[in-house]
Symmetry: C2
Subunit: 772 residues, 2 copies
């Protein structure tokens, strides 16, 4: 094996340690050179990977550096070393530093990309991965499980890195506790940028998970601080803490549809985090509390509107003598000096109380134990518009001591529970999301409750001292708050930009010449619009959609007609990972053996989206047919006629809880002579911590449909948590039920007209196959 | 309130702090003076209690001392201040020291005697009770629950104290975790002498309990070190650890019928403890392991012969996803450098595996999860007589790594499992119980396994270093071991002696003169023998037995006859707390409405004992009748004829698991015409961690009995764990069953002759009322 040594003067200057003249810079240009250098690495070595694309690289890096002389593996230029194909980086030994790599265009063939362990005999201690990007390095099959970063050992670090786009099963980062080598680990997960993680539809899509359901007693001391989380929407938990003594500090959660959840962990420090939501989603979450001994202090919540499990502050009910993997009663928790601004029902106490399900669930599932020995003190709720229910009591609050909390509910009095005092707070708006109390003008804020050990809360959210002057809420000093700005440079690698360049979409035109439409789609950039200028288009084969494409008639009044003439069982619009199709003002015709829309049968690595407006879809075997493992983020039919089809919208290819779509809506549509599966949206496996599946059917008409419906139900929603059926007309559909709703969950129907069409039934409790 | 101040020169000299001239010695002589002094106490004060008896003293001591200037409450002469009657000592505040008190002749009217908390608002921190004795300060009613010492707060200490004789319900010492004020407590329980605690018969009789079934995740850091435990026989657990990070070090367990049990706690350090057993009991226990992360190192076990839950080393099976109050699977435990000498089946792995009970117990009771990721290394088993089964595998041992363990099984080869290597070890016998390997002669011991973090085991049981030279087993250096002697002065107060003075029993003689026998019993010292010189004694009223008395015929060939002529429903021998009666060679006659033996109906504060040999008991309503709350340690009938009685031995007055006797035996006896309850030994409430109730019926004859037996069972043993029925003859007893045994437990029958007497049935599993 040839290993070329290149003394890079500049690298040496940058990397070398003054006291040591034995430093060796090893420049490697291919995999054999890399492996050779790793095999020979000595303390103080710098192994420098040449710029360029490295494909299919299994980096197994074992070495024993020292604190003073770590062994370094670095990109020649940070961000210019691209790790692609089937690649991974597994570390073992001590004091290794990996710096500046960029994982993209591929995935790991292992269970992890970065792992702080090579094997059980070769665990990493004091190793650091920094300045690294992992982008869309996701498994081809969404159902295949992996983690991107697996922590083992002790004192390991992931910092200044950017991770985004994991869409398959499994947490983005996970800390393991499979032995004494891995406890009391003091891992540092700091200054990272966790970019968007799409909705997965089902569990195991946390961004960070520390431990598992068996690690409730494990001491961890993992530090997750100074990170930026953006649109981490994988599931209901952004972070799932399942071990003890962890710290979550100074993180920013920006528009994330999940919560920081203290799931099986106890004695967490959750301090000075910022949760920024907004009006565009009802799923942005806050902090959910289970277990014992947490201190939730100095946190700031803006426009967090999640409900129940995603509440801005959810203090859960537990299960008496809970099984290991269920909910420990909350006790000895302190929630102090936090501020909620314009949140919806920010305080929810006893979340998860489910005594009404006692008949369909075993006793070990019934959360009847309310929080005890818990203090909620010195907090502020401030609303610019009135919130009718700032506090929701799901169980009993007798075990919670509320002290010196003030609410300014858009100056309206609030008195439902005796847990908040009304008070007018003078606020300064610092920026779009940050409100700080005007210092000297809020005397009422200076009456501070002091509980056991409260003296340790000696700083506010922005680091201002609380020892001289103190006041309730997250912000103790207006001056410091006024200076605060989110500095994106603190998060992720400096060389990587998360700023999106806004490209104006192009409008292309496709004529009916055979093949031209497919060609235009292929040429188009994501986001472009293709207008159909002719009246009739024949599609002899599937259109492949792997980016965002809008297809519309040039004249919405004279709708172009697309006739799909492809083979039997083929699909007009084949949705590929990350494909988004928007059809506007078109007529789509097929034949009974063909499908209008369908995802790939295998390797749907990422979600697809489907928007159909002002269209007609007729004569298909299926309008939409999902396959196992496929997932649509959004499916949206609007002002569209669906007629003479064997099947309608079928999203039912699942049995383990990984359902086929998140947001499905049908509005102002007409279904006529659709023979079965008019809408079939199904979740087979039940995990009650997954709270998705949304179906909205509104202002639509269903006629002469369901003739071949075996289940005798027109709109099937088994296992789906959120269903709204409103303002529809059902006429002459030969079924027993129009819908069978799940009363205990968020299933509702209102103002529907049913004529010769069976009825809508609500079953309060449903028995489901529990997955844990 | 008059408070007399007395500057005691000598006290001042002894107690005062050199740097401080404000020290105040306050001499108090009665309760008002004491309370007044306590109310005014300032840092540095010495409140001195006058010698003598203090009766009914509620000492509520709140004060704020400092580290440099604690507030002291001291006996004028340690051990000469007697706290009697209904008294207690509750502490609150900081830096208090209580020194030299002697609690006796009474009990606390509260739930505790010493409590490190006055109320939830008044908790003790950094407080110390030292040099104190609590002796027999036990509640009148055994079923009334209390603790003698309740720890709350943080950094409190109990040291150099002696506690013995608690016979009622409740732990002797308990540490509480009811809030953030009480975790991470670093309490010190050191240099104490825990004297005998009698068998209780049922749960909640630990000597020390740290936490409860809900504190599995609580960090504790309680230190239980350098204590001496003697005959702490309350129940199967001497110490029950239910929280995390506790230390048990350098303790001596001398002939204790229980174990150090890591029940709900994890990450315990169990180092350098000595467990001394012997041949006289099969119940001496060792260390029982549940949960995760314990280090069991440098411990020494001599003649520990307990089985199953009381095994010298019991590594338990857990319950998958266990409920909070049941058994967590064992993981990540290290058992290293321990020595077992002449123990019976010292290693028991998978203890508690109960898959066979799956039909009668719910899944949440089935211990099917074997230990995992556990290391057993560098240990020695040494036997002077061969042990056929040094290792018992109750489940599967695949999750346990056995490394470098040596057995010298009286020089016989042992090879049942591949977990021990045979090796001849040259041992020196240092004293009655201590064997140390001869240093230079055991080369095989020098091959030491090194697992993760084993370097921290850097000393041996007696403090000798392991860093230069190292060898397996608890003792690394013979020279240090040879110097070791148990120094009783290290344990408990120096002023208190635990040495028993051996008084030779006196032999008294009682004639048949009316009242003389009662008089002699009253006069006799405990242990004395009273001989009956006449032929016939009439007992017009009950003989009260509150000490140990032997009653025997002067001539065992010509047995004296005692005829009880007391009232209806009265009892010939009324057993009082701590009463022991030994009847030898007597004939005891009664009437059908009277009892031969019975305890008090209420306030049986302590156990009684009953030994009957070579006697005849006839014509009674009951031979023995127990009442609820009464408890006999030993009931022993030998070579005795019981005839013409309505009822025999009834020990069945219970429903919550507090059964009425521990050791019951009947040997070479004859039962003739006993109409019901021939033997009725019953436990109603089932707690499977209580493993008692022993009944042995051997070499006896039962004839014409059971005529009025409603249950159609002659010998009733429902709920009793250990039953032996062997070599008996049953003839003409009109019952369906002679006995119904519990096959899964330690119930056995052998070699009985049954003629016209029903049969003995074994029911493998019994359904019982579970108590937790």
């Amino acid at each position: 094996m040839k290993v070329k040594l290149l003394i890079l003067g500049i690298t040496l200057l940058l990397f070398s340690c003054g006291e040591n003249s034995n430093l060796q810079n090893v420049y490697v240009r291919d995999i054999p050179e890399l492996q050779g250098a790793l095999n020979k690495a000595m303390p103080g070595d710098n192994i420098v990977m040449a710029n360029g694309v490295w494909k299919d690289v299994p980096i197994i890096f074992f070495g024993k550096g020292t604190k003073e002389q770590p062994i370094n593996l670095r990109a020649e230029t940070p961000g210019k070393v691209f790790i692609e194909g089937e690649s991974y980086l597994h570390l073992g030994g001590e004091h290794l530093i990996i710096d500046g790599l960029y994982f993209r265009n591929g995935y790991s063939p292992k269970n992890s990309i970065i792992r702080y362990m090579i094997s059980e005999d070769s665990i990493a201690f004091n190793c650091r991965v920094t300045n690294t990007v992992i982008e869309d390095f996701t498994k081809p099959n969404r159902l295949t499980n992996d983690r991107w970063v697996e922590f083992y050992g002790k004192h390991n670090q992931l910092d200044h890195s950017y991770l985004s786009g994991k869409s398959n099963d499994g947490e983005t980062v996970r800390v393991f506790f499979t032995g004494n080598e891995h406890i009391n680990n003091h891992h540092q997960i700091v200054n990272n940028y966790f970019g968007p993680r799409p909705r997965k539809g089902g569990p195991r899509a946390e961004t960070i998970r520390i431990g598992d359901s068996k690690t409730r007693v494990s001491p961890s001391f993992t530090n997750v601080s100074d990170n930026y989380f953006e649109a981490c929407n994988g599931e209901v938990e952004i972070i799932s803490d399942k071990t003890n003594f962890n710290t979550f500090k100074n993180n920013i959660f920006y528009k994330c549809e999940g919560s920081l959840v203290l799931r099986h962990g106890s004695y967490a420090t959750v301090d000075a985090n910022i949760f920024i939501g907004g009006d565009e989603s009802d799923f942005y979450g806050g902090i959910r509390i289970v277990n014992t001994g947490h201190w939730i202090t100095n946190n700031y919540f803006y426009k967090i509107k999640g409900k129940q499990f995603r509440s801005p502050l959810a203090i859960m009910n537990g299960i008496p003598m809970t099984p290991l993997n269920r909910y420990l009663q909350v006790s000895d928790v302190v929630v102090a000096y936090n501020t909620w601004i314009d949140c919806k029902s920010p305080w929810q106490i006893g979340v998860g109380q489910n005594l009404e399900s006692a008949d369909v669930l075993p006793p070990s599932e019934i959360r009847s134990a309310p929080p005890i020995r818990t203090i909620v003190a010195n907090n502020i709720i401030y609303n610019t518009k009135i919130d009718e229910t700032p506090v929701i009591n799901h169980s009993t609050m007798e075990g919670v001591l509320f002290k010196n909390n003030i609410i300014d509910n858009a100056s309206e009095d609030y008195s439902e529970y005796d847990v908040l005092q009304d008070g007018a707070i003078k606020m300064n708006k610092i920026n779009e999301w940050l409100y700080a109390p005007a210092d000297s003008e809020n005397k009422i804020m200076e009456d501070v409750y002091t509980g056991y050990d409260f003296a340790k809360i000696n700083h506010d959210i922005f680091g201002a001292s609380r020892t001289e002057k103190n006041s309730i809420g997250a912000i103790n000093q207006t001056a410091t708050a006024e200076k605060f700005k989110i500095d994106k440079k603190k998060y992720g690698p400096k060389w990587f930009s998360t700023e999106k360049i806004n490209i104006e979409p192009k409008i292309l035109t496709a004529s009916s010449a055979v093949g031209q439409l497919a060609e235009k789609i292929s040429e188009a950039a994501s986001g472009d619009i293709i207008e159909l200028s002719d009246a009739l288009y024949t599609l002899p084969s599937s259109l492949k959609i792997d980016k965002e494409i809008t297809l519309r008639s040039k004249d919405s009044k004279n709708r172009a007609e697309l006739v799909f003439t492809g083979m039997k069982d083929s699909v007009a619009f084949e949705m590929k990972p990350k494909g988004t199709i928007r059809l506007e003002s078109l007529i789509l015709k097929g034949e009974q053996s063909k499908y209008a829309f369908a995802p790939l049968k295998i390797n749907m690595a990422s979600a697809y989206n489907l928007y159909v407006e002002n269209c007609v879809i007729e004569d298909f075997g299926y309008v939409l047919r999902a396959y196992k493992g496929s997932f649509a983020d959004t499916i949206n039919f609007k002002k569209t006629i669906i007629k003479n089809c064997q099947n309608g919208i079928e999203l039912a290819a699942e049995d383990k809880g990984d359902y086929n779509a998140e947001m499905v809506s049908v509005d102002h549509c007409i279904f006529e002579n659709v023979q079965s599966n008019i809408i079939n949206f199904y979740r087979g496996g039940y995990d009650e911590s997954t709270i998705g599946g949304f179906l909205s059917v509104t202002n639509s008409t269903f006629t002469d449909s369901g003739k071949n419906e075996k289940n005798d139900i027109l709109i099937k929603t088994r296992g789906i948590i959120n269903v709204t059926i409103k303002n529809n007309t059902f006429k002459n559909n030969p079924v027993e039920l129009v819908a069978l709703l799940w009363g205990e969950k968020n299933n509702h129907h209102l103002n529907n007209t049913l004529t010769n069409s069976g009825k809508i039934k609500v079953e309060e409790q449903q028995k489901l196959k529990i997955l844990y």
